[in-house]
Symmetry: C2
Subunit: 353 residues, 2 copies
């Protein structure tokens, strides 16, 4: 009866079998220095054989190690409340992993102001963080920051939009191309052949544009591939004030009669507002994101479909990926595409962002 708890395999059991102390076992487990290759191999072998799984509770209890994560996303503005959702997800994850000794410190920037982005990245760079979650909206500035993190070996997670070809832990967000492609499919269903579709891009910063362009590409390619006879027109509206949008829309809608309008982002509510004010009812409207104002227009039947990509879950899973990587050492999928959800008047009530 040497070991009364012969059922559970722990450091004690391993040490016993390897004829060393638990201190030594501990060293190889946390691959610290100070153990000869020979005994290390022996211990590793036993660990393998017993399929040892460390007790996370005991580990957490004994460890006083703390990790600090930084998050960097756009601040919630009057213009769009889209970023409320990812923030909620981030805070939710933060609450869950708090007990595991992880502190999450959120940073924000103004989507219309590159400088605020740069300021935040340098703040993050100045303090010492163990992991960073960010929405890499400005390409050049993001790449510069990525380099800094790579030098310091700080894992980086992207959400919402990707900057491919750079060394980060993972990307969690939509497959933009596919999401535009799906929208086109819906358009095709609801408006049969020989109809006219207007694509509307509303975005101030050109930097964010590649994001929208990918969607547009998917949208257009669907029609090409399916040999559709639908006619596509596109306008870019580079100012986000209502007056300007109003004017642009009036100009455009005077030119032709469109059957469907596809707005490439969450600004679809602005177009809906315009439709309602001008009593336009026979034009189908499709846009993006589960925002209160959008949902209201969905209820009104002004907006017909919303495409949504679980922004809250993006924030949640982003932080969890850092946690899983750093604490649990599990392998993280490099590209985690969100589902492409179709929201209508009939199912929005049960949608979870």
């Amino acid at each position: 009866m040497e070991n009364k708890h012969s059922g559970t395999v722990g450091v004690k059991k391993i040490a016993q079998l390897a004829k060393v102390s638990i201190g030594t076992v501990d060293r190889v487990l946390n691959n610290r220095v100070g153990v000869s290759e020979k005994t290390k191999a022996k211990i590793l072998k036993i660990i393998e054989e017993l399929n040892y799984q460390p007790n996370i509770f005991a580990r957490r209890l004994a460890s006083k190690k703390k990790l600090r994560f930084a998050t960097l996303i756009p601040k919630v503005s009057e213009e769009t409340k889209y970023w409320e959702a990812p923030l909620t997800g981030i805070l939710q994850a933060a609450a869950e992993i708090k007990d595991f000794g992880i502190e999450v410190i959120p940073f924000f920037f103004d989507q219309n102001n590159k400088t605020t982005f740069k300021e935040s990245t340098s703040k993050i760079n100045a303090e010492e963080f163990d992991g960073v979650l960010m929405a890499p909206m400005f390409e050049d500035e993001s790449i510069a920051f990525i380099e800094q993190c790579n030098v310091k070996k700080i894992p980086l997670v992207f959400i919402n939009s990707d900057i491919p070809g750079h060394d980060n832990l993972c990307y969690i967000g939509p497959n933009l191309y596919q999401s535009g492609y799906l929208s086109a499919h819906i358009v095709n269903y609801i408006s049969p052949a020989n109809k006219k579709t207007l694509i509307v891009n509303i975005s101030r910063e050109i930097d964010l544009h590649h994001h929208l362009l990918r969607k547009e590409e998917g949208f257009r390619n669907y029609f090409e591939e399916s040999g559709s006879t639908n006619e596509l027109t596109k306008i870019d509206i580079q100012q986000t004030g209502y007056a300007h949008i109003q004017q642009k829309l009036t100009e455009q809608l005077a030119k032709d009669n469109y059957d469907v309008v596809f707005v490439t982002n969450s600004r679809v509510s602005t177009v809906a507002k315009y439709f309602e004010e001008n009593n336009i009812k026979d034009v189908k409207l499709i846009g993006y994101d589960f925002l209160e104002e959008n949902i209201n227009h969905l209820k009104n039947k002004t907006i017909d479909f919303l495409i949504c990509q679980k922004p809250q879950e993006q924030g949640y899973r982003g932080l969890m990926s850092l946690y899983n990587h750093l604490v649990l050492h599990s392998t993280i999928e490099k590209e985690q595409f969100m589902p492409i959800d179709i929201i209508t008047k009939e199912n929005y009530q049960y949608y979870s962002n």
Copy 2:
């Protein structure tokens, strides 16, 4: 420097402040007997003031308490693999809470055989379980089992379909009515006025029928409420063999030309097979569930839309609800409706069940 860890509030600190031993504190914490009302009140007051939160890691490490959950769902059959998904969710949750001292034991029954259901419930009743998750498919038999559990104060979670008006912990699953309603909405979009729609019920056991009837009700009500001019016809096919379904469909389709066929459950793939064999291409087909055979027909474009309600998550959240209730003592929402997801050829690849 009496207490070096003056930062963390634990039993030790509480005991110190209340001038009692930690044993006494432990007794009031786990409201065991053996402590006078006076000291109990004093300790409770301190706990309140310090906002003491027990350390779950220390608790788990020291506690040898075990909980046992039973799950009861249909077994995966050749007829339909639907129940694979909830089972996966159950197993996933089981793996996650295993370390917290919870053992999950799955039971199964044959959807076409009430006796197997009763056998399983009495098995569960015989052993002592601390919580039960079930798909209450047979109404009377389920109610009998509910009574038994209520007597023993065993919390019960329903998934996939509900039996309202009985005392259970919660229901996690679709809002069936709304899901039929949504389907009707889609039908309405893809086939304009004055079209003919065929509703197809394929189900052997009449007991399961109320499940399908609720969907049909939602479906019909949509058309009524929207004053649609579409014409609805319905057939019930009470044998699930292909030959029989084939014959019934042939009979029905001879009667009229339908524009849309709505199948009220996952058997839609059978109809799709029939369509393909008979080269029927101009009829839109809508059905339920993210199953491999259904997805294949979605790819073929034989099926146009699938409605899906996250069966895997139902299993997962069901077990988690038991855990949250019994271990974390958190309050559980009585009705947890799943999102109503619309799956098409373009977004199925990113769907998570």
